[in-house]
């Protein structure tokens, strides 16, 4: 069982997105002849037939283009430079994280993420060194797709886009917003290329992991992507505790996926209720915000000493 645990052990959720986004890029031979096979319908994935083709295309592209380049980059670039480059881009993303904190009424977290950005941009030499982590300000993961989820927008079908990898319908406006809110989008192609290259190089181990563990890399990628995004959107509160006992044939066995999907809807409603709750407790949040600013200031004082 939980080999996936080990996967997570090595890769933060930031990296995980990258991995899954790139995961359209792995396990070539296993899926090569898939087009001829009968495709089993999955409610979350109505376009599976096309998606699989794109997945295979991305996979080939990775094998012949991205992987060799990334390996070359890895070979000539020292680890600390790779980490620095990762930190630099990651820090820029925090502007967007703060935006989305506010849009989701997470004011305390917004304050922490603001401090994180400020600390890393100054003491952390424009973000190259992740100083914030050392003083206990963890990287949070928020984006516009999660904001839309919190607002109650349904997920929509799963899709695999050429070059970009897995996404859900809700993720497309999300990605447009996030790109617009990221400064590195405005600097020009070489900067973005550097980001992509570094990302691909960092993801090497995780891609290898999926290749080793997955019986069907396409399905593995889709499931982990959907679950992982759902976990992020609900901040882990929707932790899957279904025990699938109903599937054991002791009861009606036809209510497997349907049950699952219905549960998803219930989850969305729950989220909506949570949001309204969180809006009503805005005042509380502001108080917490003030406190967390105070804490951050204290931490900085300690750091100076």
């Amino acid at each position: 069982m939980s080999i996936f645990g080990n996967f997570c052990k090595h890769y933060s959720s930031q990296q995980m997105f990258v991995v899954l986004a790139l995961a359209g890029t792995i396990g070539g031979c296993a899926t090569a002849s898939v087009e001829d096979q009968k495709i089993v319908a999955n409610k979350a994935d109505p376009y599976e037939r096309i998606n699989r083709k794109v997945f295979n295309f991305n996979d080939q592209l990775d094998n012949y283009v991205a992987e060799p380049i990334a390996k070359g980059y890895k070979a000539i670039t020292p680890d600390f430079v790779q980490t620095g480059v990762f930190n630099f881009y990651n820090n820029l993303k925090n502007i967007n994280v703060v935006f989305n904190d506010v849009l989701q009424a997470k004011f305390t977290q917004g304050a922490e993420d603001t401090s994180r950005f400020v600390v890393n941009s100054t003491l952390g030499l424009l973000g190259v060194v992740d100083v914030a982590k050392k003083i206990g300000l963890e990287q949070n993961d928020e984006d516009f797709e999660q904001t839309l989820a919190v607002w109650g927008v349904p997920r929509g079908p799963y899709m695999v886009l050429p070059l970009l990898g897995p996404v859900t319908a809700r993720g497309i406006p999300g990605a447009v917003f996030d790109t617009a809110a990221n400064p590195s989008s405005y600097v020009g192609a070489p900067v973005q290329l550097m980001s992509v290259l570094n990302t691909r190089a960092n993801a090497e181990g995780s891609l290898k992991f999926i290749d080793e563990a997955a019986l069907d890399p396409y399905v593995f990628t889709r499931e982990s992507f959907l679950q992982w995004r759902n976990g992020l959107a609900t901040d882990g509160k929707s932790s899957e505790t279904a025990d699938f006992e109903d599937d054991l044939g002791e009861e009606s066995s036809s209510k497997t996926l349907a049950d699952f999907n219905r549960k998803g809807f219930a989850g969305e409603t729950q989220k909506f209720t949570d949001v309204s709750k969180s809006f009503t407790s805005v005042e509380q949040s502001f108080e917490n915000t003030a406190k967390s600013f105070q804490n951050a200031a204290d931490k900085l004082d300690k750091l100076k000493k």
């Binding site: 069982m1 939980s2 080999i3 996936f4 645990g5 080990n6 996967f7 997570c8 052990k9 933060s12 959720s13 995980m16 096979q37 009968k38 495709i39 089993v40 999955n42 963890e138 990287q139 992991f209 080793e212 563990a213 997955a214 019986l215 069907d216 399905v219 593995f220 889709r222 499931e223 982990s224 679950q227 992982w228 759902n230 976990g231 992020l232 882990g236 929707s238 932790s239 899957e240 505790t241 279904a242 025990d243 699938f244 006992e245 599937d247 054991l248 044939g249 066995s253 036809s254 497997t256």
Partner: protein
């Protein structure tokens, strides 16, 4: 004098009764939490000795640890969903056997290094269907913590793990979709040979 003796005897009897009750309780009460913590401890031990032990060595150590803490039969049954009923008894046995090997092999392959990781217990929760979820997390120096939620079910008086949810991703749900998909598309023999191929890979890597 006689009264004193009786009193003594009663006390002794009471005492021995107490001892035996305690002993009985200890034998019975391997709680869900203990099952998880024992398993995590064994996993960490294997990680710590990862450098000196080869794959086969780690495999044999973990085989015991995994089969004593996981309900592998039930897990194998769940991951193929309603397809289970369509399998012959021999196929069901084969699936459980191969699946168990695969589970242990993936542990043996993936948990071979130790960098100061530690498991920390967070809380325990009872589910509506009589299961228990143990919430814990793995701390890794210089990395973000990884949440590990273990779902356990009572199997004839013994708590056994049936699912592990790592950072919100359910291993059981993931495998279930994957396995049923392979089964429906390619059939039982293809599923078994794919799993065997993976086990083989793990042992070589």
């Amino acid at each position: 004098m006689a009264v004193k003796n009786v009193k003594k005897m009663l006390m002794l009897a009471g005492f021995s009764l107490l001892v035996s009750v305690n002993g009985f309780a200890e034998e019975q009460a391997t709680t869900a939490k203990q099952v998880v913590e024992n398993f995590q401890g064994q996993l960490l031990a294997v990680m710590k000795s990862g450098k000196q032990t080869d794959f086969a060595g780690r495999y044999s150590k973990l085989f015991d640890a995994v089969s004593k803490s996981h309900d592998l039969t039930k897990i194998a049954r769940i991951v193929v969903g309603k397809e289970w009923e369509k399998l012959t008894e021999a196929q069901q046995q084969k699936l459980v056997e191969v699946f168990s090997k695969f589970s242990v092999a993936s542990y043996a392959h993936n948990f071979k290094d130790y960098d100061g990781e530690a498991f920390v217990f967070d809380s325990e929760e009872e589910t509506t269907k009589g299961g228990v979820v143990i919430h814990s997390h793995l701390t890794i120096p210089d990395e973000k913590d990884v949440k590990f939620d273990y779902m356990l079910k009572d199997n004839g008086g013994n708590w056994r793990i049936i699912n592990i949810i790592a950072n919100g991703v359910s291993d059981l749900a993931l495998k279930r979709t994957e396995y049923t998909s392979v089964l429906q598309r390619d059939g039982f023999d293809a599923l078994i040979s794919k799993i065997n191929e993976k086990i083989d890979n793990y042992s070589k890597l």
